[in-house]
Symmetry: C2
């Protein structure tokens, strides 16, 4: 394919915003005087744990599934996901009256699996230590049963849906009379980052956009530095279960290498500390992978001093026992 | 005093809304398909943990302190509180440039004490097992040093400030094309309940308003039933540290006996379960006392079947270790 022809545009984001209006939650942007003081700047936190299904993934999934022609809807959708995309697809499919099959790892957090089943989706599991097999399993289901594969990030309509977060952030900043110096988002396959960057750079070209990854899964940072897609070490482990793809998407990488100012990294330990700060000062439940952009701001990996910085808290689907251990210990 | 002359009015609430605009957070109203399904109705949750200082108390405190004449501000304010009013007063005083002395129990949650100190307030402690002494201690400070006593609930301007929550709830419901059948709020001294009832009954007379208390501190429910103010057992204990006043306020009781449809009670155990449900399905951190109205909805003490019900989650200031134990266990 010609990569540039398929890149999502600001028009795609605006169109997605119309599609999801009244379905997705226009999530609030939270702020804490304590955290502002700590980072020495103005820190805006986009609260996607408050999104339907507890993460941003519903936005892209709904936008994508809503474009499936009526005649093809009865055949259903198929998706593969470690959990948040699974729930987003399951919910969007349910609201649009489309059957859904979700391919999930057998070690997905229980809350994510439960949250997928409750929307009526059929679950097919795979060996969670072999994420590279998941796409093939999903494609085999499509080949056998028909239906539309809804990719977690490498799809222009999915990226455009996530981009509505960037649109809402810029509009919110404007409503406060602020201009955003920097925006940072958690980055797994890169769909959230690519969507947000598409919207933010179109509306506010001087704003810098960064991806943030766990150090063990820094495939986007390495790819940006190398100028080509790099794979993660398959033996890597991280508490950030929502940010562990084998490598960046082809499309998301094309967008991100054009628009990002760089790729940042945070330690799992700092993601845990950011979860605790969000608990204490924002009263927001954030999952490990959802907290890495906030962690970048709090550790200084993302410079906030004297700046207006927006970070996306991308999800809050974390099992109670895991959460309890992290906030009591950090 | 003539009780009726001093009762807060809808005009007072509207005036408070103007005062706090741009200072208080117009907190979002959260909703979960899981919880809606569970209660068999439409359950709207007003998220006051997302308020500045982590509870609704900032609203009343800011409204009250902003009315102190300029000439009297330098003498400062004095308040007594188990923690949330303390933080609300400390923050409002700081924003208005007024010195604050706060009388707090020596067993207040650490997070609440820290949250009060960080706004620059001076803390004076009292024996937390003897809450009946706290008002006398605060009055002695006023007698000695001067300044304005900012009562936690028995003050028309404080009540009117909390009433802005009722105003926002009714407006939100209208924006969704809904009419509220019922509104319920946590109830300590009764200021939040009285304020919300004042606004809700003025704007939507057929909406029923209920107070919700821990069973061990059901002074408002008992007072409403008896037609006169009843005291709590001084030996009572509850995990709901924000809802343990000796008795209802004189003014709050006058408002509540006129406007409420009744007083509900929930067990501490059910407040804990409601905190866990808020964690799982709303991604909102709620403290024990802040969760009792949600608990009433989830236990069925507050009938939700086929109805549109709004509950106030009034605060989220809970120590991490306490929270971890409750959500991991409930």
């Amino acid at each position: 394919m010609s990569e540039t022809e398929n890149l999502p545009t600001m028009d795609d984001v605006l169109s997605a915003a119309e599609r999801i209006a009244g379905k997705a939650v226009p999530t609030p942007v939270l702020e804490s005087p304590v955290l502002n003081e700590r980072v020495g700047g103005r820190l805006l936190v986009k609260a996607e744990p408050l999104q339907l299904t507890g993460s941003f993934k519903f936005r892209g999934a709904y936008n994508r599934i809503s474009r499936i022609p009526e005649a093809e809807r009865a055949a259903g959708v198929v998706a593969f996901s470690s959990g948040n995309h699974a729930q987003g697809v399951a919910a969007a499919a349910k609201l649009l009256g489309v059957p859904a099959v979700i391919v999930m790892p057998d070690n997905a957090p229980r809350l994510k699996r439960w949250g997928t089943e409750r929307w009526g989706a059929e679950i097919v599991t795979y060996d969670g230590t072999r994420p590279e097999t998941r796409e093939a399993i999903a494609e085999a289901i499509v080949a056998e049963r028909g239906g539309t594969l809804v990719r977690p990030f490498d799809d222009a309509l999915v990226i455009a849906g996530q981009g509505t977060i960037g649109l809402e952030l810029v509009r919110h900043a404007e409503s406060l009379g602020l201009e955003l110096d920097t925006v940072a988002t958690p980055c797994g396959g890169g769909g959230l980052t690519a969507g947000v960057a598409t919207a933010v750079k179109a509306l506010s070209p001087r704003t810098e956009v960064y991806s943030v990854e766990p150090v063990a899964y820094d495939n986007m940072a390495k790819s940006l530095a190398a100028g080509s897609r790099q794979r993660n070490d398959p033996a890597a482990r991280s508490i950030c279960d929502s940010l562990v793809p084998p490598q960046p998407g082809a499309l998301t990488f094309e967008v991100n290498r054009r628009l990002l100012s760089g790729g940042l990294r945070v330690r799992d330990e700092d993601a845990g500390k950011a979860m605790r700060q969000a608990f204490l000062h924002l009263k927001l439940v954030v999952e490990p992978g959802g907290a890495v952009a906030l962690a970048a701001a709090l550790t200084g990996a993302l410079e906030c001093r004297g700046r207006t910085v927006a970070v996306v808290a991308s999800g809050g689907n974390v099992d109670p026992a895991v959460y309890a251990e992290i906030i009591a210990a950090s």
